[in-house]
């Protein structure tokens, strides 16, 4: 058994921390709320090779596993960035199933792709050159795309209209990519929770009241440890999802949905607790906490959201219990 990060994965994670630290993405997320431009993660993603992370090596990609993508997305969540990345990774995963000719330009990041899942609010479509739908691939220019912002300017959404002929034979790989996307969203949400934990701990150590650091009060300390606990639950299930994506495809629907549910719940708890630990200052526009809170509030509604994730967890475990009962 090995459920730890490999040296390569540690290196990938550290490189992501480093690369994402060079741009003020968090400040950019605030400015974008007031109508400013959102800092583009794409140059960073291309330089770091994330655009080809899931593309097989023979098409110029890194040929890595979904779990490696999750490690990158966790860091994106911490920095409130990554717009375009989840959709691109999912699109390349689908296209890799058919050795698609677009894989090479997508791997280098020269071209960007996103998946149209059939949701009211689609993810990462803004800025994409190609759209992957249930039926195939089309240039983004062939679709009607209406960009929208809902609550969180760090994650641009779009309403998309395409005329699309469904081709059911592709549905297996499409569904797989959808499950992986659940795990990538979970990783992003975990990053949010982890950043909130850090900010809460730092503030609880430096803020004094009644002659001592507020982190010494159990009322504060225990709320912060609850962030750690929720994040730990999410991380364990994210590891499960990464493992299932590689080795246990039958368990991926359960693992990815459980990870998604746990991570979104962790981010929700972490963001509101971080705000509370900071007192009134945490609820101001100038403070970063609400930017993360916004990220968590929107994230938990996307692509089926926590409600859909919970329903799938229930479905999978009920089915598993039925099978065990009949054995």
């Amino acid at each position: 058994m090995n459920f730890s990060l490999t040296d390569e994965q540690e290196a990938l994670r550290e490189a992501a921390v480093d690369a994402l630290g060079r741009v003020d993405f968090v400040g950019g997320a605030r400015a974008a709320l007031d109508g400013g431009p959102l800092p583009d993660v794409w140059p960073t993603a291309r330089e770091a090779g994330w655009t080809g992370l899931l593309v097989p090596e023979r098409f110029g990609g890194a040929g890595l596993d979904p779990f490696d993508g999750m490690l990158v997305l966790e860091q994106c969540g911490r920095r409130l960035t990554g717009a375009g990345l989840i959709g691109h990774l999912a699109a390349t995963l689908i296209l890799a199933g058919s050795d698609h000719e677009l894989l090479e330009p997508l791997a280098t990041g020269e071209q960007r792709a996103a998946v149209v899942w059939g949701e009211e609010f689609e993810l990462d479509v803004a800025g994409a050159d190609w759209l992957v739908t249930r039926g195939g691939v089309l240039p983004a220019s062939d679709a009607v795309i209406e960009p929208v912002i809902r609550g969180d300017a760090s994650r641009p959404l779009a309403r998309v209209h395409v005329s699309d002929e469904p081709k059911p034979h592709q549905s297996v790989v499409f569904v797989h990519a959808w499950q992986v996307t659940q795990a990538l969203l979970a990783a992003d949400a975990l990053g949010v929770a982890e950043r909130m934990l850090e900010m809460s701990v730092d503030y609880a150590k430096e803020r004094y009241a009644f002659g001592r650091a507020i982190g010494s009060y159990q009322a504060i300390k225990q709320q912060i440890v609850e962030i750690l606990r929720h994040a730990g639950t999410a991380r364990s299930l994210l590891f499960y999802a990464g493992y299932a994506a590689e080795a246990r495809p039958d368990e991926l629907p359960l693992a990815a949905s459980a990870a998604r549910f746990a991570a979104e719940e962790a981010a929700e708890y972490a963001t509101r607790t971080c705000i509370a630990v900071h007192g009134g200052i945490g609820a101001t526009w100038e403070h970063d906490a609400h930017l993360y809170w916004r990220r968590a509030q929107l994230s938990r509604l996307l692509l089926g959201g926590v409600a859909g994730a919970a329903d799938r967890v229930a479905e999978e475990i009920i089915e598993s219990a039925r099978q065990k009962e009949t054995v």
Binding site: M1, R229, F239
Partner: protein, 392 residues
């Protein structure tokens, strides 16, 4: 990332599976937990498992153990469960007390006690918590006074699992009250049949009596009953508690109902199509499922030579949450019938489980301070001799 066995682990698993296939019919009915009406069949079974190398997996070979790692211990537990056999009930002895004796006992103590403990011919209990000291364990007041030829013991312990079936107990006592509380403690081996030892079952809100109160009235102990240094018992007990933490990683997984078991009584109910019910099922499942993968992460750390952080202990909170949520949901779906029998008992166990093995609050405090580096509350007992402390 993988859950694959290494070649030697695969061999261990194959041997375990082969042995269990042949001997599964000798297992008593599986139990969930550490509490049974009669431990004898389980101790007999434990002896067989131990001789097959499936108990005491991490103990040194010199003391009858397997000399292997916690991953192999997990494998043994998994295979026992897979074969439909019972786990052992003397988890506290095998997981904590044996390793403590092996670490701190004299050679004579080890030769005398460790073998019968492993093979289940002598039962053991852990005599740490007291009515006046649980979270603040170093505040215990059971007193051991030295005499010409040994020690004499007076006081009371509580929450003692399997004390009524124990031949020996490992006990934490105060030997010097005139120094700060951590410094005047000593660990003893106490024969449970010694004159002056009284065991009384403690009936809980669930109706069952899984724990005991144990009273000591002028119990005479030999000089060689001391384990580790006199007045150095706190360090020994820290070791015991560290083993408890390690044991909990795999034991919780093997002793708690699996996610499928938690929802089994709902199968067949039309309520399974209800959105509220499904959401609650998901919440309990996620809490319970996380435990398994938290354990795998911690075991991987151990396998890689790293000590897992105490935060892995937070998994206990999730297990209790999962049990509470599942029992509440089952009652909501099945109605008052579910308040009796197995699920009623589970529901009635969960409130007390919040405090078992360390309250949730003390767990969070410890982790807040040791993992997150948050400052501790000011302490009124720091550097004050125990005899001068305000106590319950």
């Amino acid at each position: 990332m993988n859950l694959d066995d290494t070649p030697s682990q695969a061999e261990f698993r194959a041997r375990a599976r082969a042995w269990l296939t042949e001997h599964r019919h000798e297992s008593p009915p599986p139990v969930a937990g550490l509490h049974v009406e009669d431990p004898e069949p389980y101790r007999e079974w434990q002896g067989k498992l131990a001789r097959a190398g499936l108990v005491g997996v991490t103990w040194p070979v010199a003391y009858g153990g397997g000399g292997l790692g916690p991953s192999e211990e997990m494998i043994a537990g998994d295979e026992i469960a897979r074969a439909g056999c019972s786990q052992i009930v003397d988890h506290i002895a095998i997981g904590e007390l044996g390793p403590t004796l092996i670490a701190y006992g004299t050679e004579e103590q080890k030769q005398r006690y460790v073998g019968p403990m492993l093979y289940g011919t002598e039962g053991w209990c852990q005599l740490f918590s007291e009515p006046g000291a649980g979270s603040d364990l170093a505040g215990i007041s059971t007193r051991a006074r030295s005499t010409d030829d040994g020690w004499v013991l007076n006081g009371q312990k509580v929450w003692t699992t399997l004390a009524q079936f124990a031949d020996y107990g490992l006990l934490l006592a105060r030997t010097n009250p005139d120094v700060p509380k951590h410094r005047g403690l000593t660990i003893f081996v106490v024969p449970m049949d010694a004159p002056g030892v009284t065991v009384r079952p403690l009936r809980l809100m669930s109706g069952s009596a899984p724990f005991n109160e144990v009273f000591f009235d002028d119990v005479a102990l030999d000089a060689d009953a001391v384990v580790g240094p006199v007045d150095g018992g706190w360090g020994v007990s820290i070791t015991t508690l560290m083993y408890e933490r390690l044991m909990a990683l795999s034991a919780f997984e093997h002793l708690s109902p699996a996610p499928e078991q938690l929802i089994a009584p709902l199968l067949g109910s039309p309520a399974l199509n209800d959105g509220y019910v499904r959401r609650k099922i998901a919440e309990a499942t996620v809490d319970r499922l996380a435990l398994r993968y938290t354990a795998y992460r911690a075991l991987s750390d151990l396998q890689g030579g790293r000590m897992p952080g105490p935060e892995a202990g937070l998994g206990k909170i999730g297990v209790v949450e999962a049990g509470r949520k599942a029992a509440a949901l089952i009652a909501e779906v099945l109605g008052p019938d579910a308040l009796t029998g197995q699920w009623g008992e589970l529901a009635a166990e969960m409130p007390g489980m919040r405090s078992a093995g360390g309250t949730e609050e003390i767990l969070r405090n410890t982790i807040g301070e040791r993992v997150l580096g948050l400052p501790s509350e000011p302490r009124l007992d720091k550097d004050v001799p125990f005899s001068e402390l305000a106590r319950t």
